[in-house]
């Protein structure tokens, strides 16, 4: 990811062309609901096929769950 605005997507690539580093960027975009459907599918396929990203992806899920918990975004927690 560069410091410049993204005016391209990863949509034109095959799942195998997504690197772990790119998958982390995509996880962040997905958190902000800014990842397109095709990229979301490619991310899912990459995470499914890559054991390291499988674990890292779970860690990000847990990080986001904790943030949501911290900020009472989950219903019925207060």
């Amino acid at each position: 990811m560069t410091d410049q605005p993204r005016d391209d997507t990863i949509e034109d690539r095959s799942p195998g062309e997504i690197t772990c580093r790119e998958s982390v960027e995509m996880v962040s975009l997905m958190r902000d609901h800014e990842l397109g459907a095709k990229d979301e599918l490619r991310l899912a396929l990459h995470i499914q096929a890559c054991p390291r990203c499988h674990i890292a992806g779970r860690q990000f899920e847990q990080l986001f769950d904790t943030l949501d918990e911290l900020l009472v975004r989950k219903r019925g927690r207060t």
Binding site: M1, S28, P51, E69, G76, R77
Partner: protein, 202 residues
């Protein structure tokens, strides 16, 4: 707390709320960039907490409850403020190369990440709240270590729920830059939490 006499806070609650004041002030000051406005927002938060203490059912930490109240105060204050430009010339801000150590030449994870396991996969039970609070405390600690401007953007998004477009409006940053800062903040937090959890469980 300094409230009117007819709003006197019971001493036990006063003490409970006061211990979170510095954290709330740090959060408010970081966003509002104005000591007076930050103090007002925190004071209003503490008074609102006291006035609505019946709504606190005790299933979350007191701090969580207070942050949820402060969030609305800050959102109101920020939306009524003029644009607060963010400058990113601070040498303490992250560079993409700061994360090179995590990845190899093919941009694959250099090391196999280790599952966080039971530290975060807490089942319902007496240990749940303890573990959950521990994890939240670790996360808060990691958030305080974010570089100033990155932390500010991260808190606008994650704590205050601003959309990317609102952040660009408020800070003058381009949307791509906001995404980069959020990505780096999250990767940094994941790395920080990983280090701390390994330190706790080893």
């Amino acid at each position: 707390m300094n409230v009117e006499s007819d709003q006197r806070v019971p001493s036990w609650l006063d003490a409970e709320l006061a211990q979170h004041r510095s954290f709330l002030m740090k959060l408010a000051r970081g966003q509002l960039r104005d000591q007076g406005l930050a103090e007002d927002a925190v004071q209003e938060t503490l008074v609102a907490a006291w006035q609505n203490q019946q709504s606190f059912a005790g299933r979350s930490a007191v701090r969580t409850w207070l942050v949820s109240i402060l969030r609305y105060k800050l959102i109101d204050a920020l939306r009524s403020q003029t644009r607060q430009p963010v400058t990113l010339i601070d040498h303490n801000e992250y560079e993409e190369s700061d994360f090179d150590v995590l990845f190899n030449h093919a941009n694959q994870w250099r090391e196999q990440p280790e599952p966080w396991g039971e530290f975060v996969d807490f089942a319902d039970g007496p240990q749940r709240q303890i573990l959950q609070n521990q994890l939240m405390n670790l996360l808060e600690l990691c958030v305080t270590k974010l570089p100033e401007q990155t932390g500010r953007i991260f808190l606008l998004r994650e704590y205050l729920g601003f959309e990317t477009g609102e952040i660009t409006d408020h800070t003058g940053l381009q949307s791509g830059h906001v995404r980069v800062l959020l990505h780096r903040a999250r990767l940094s937090l994941r790395t920080c939490l990983d280090t701390k959890i390994r330190g706790t469980t080893s």
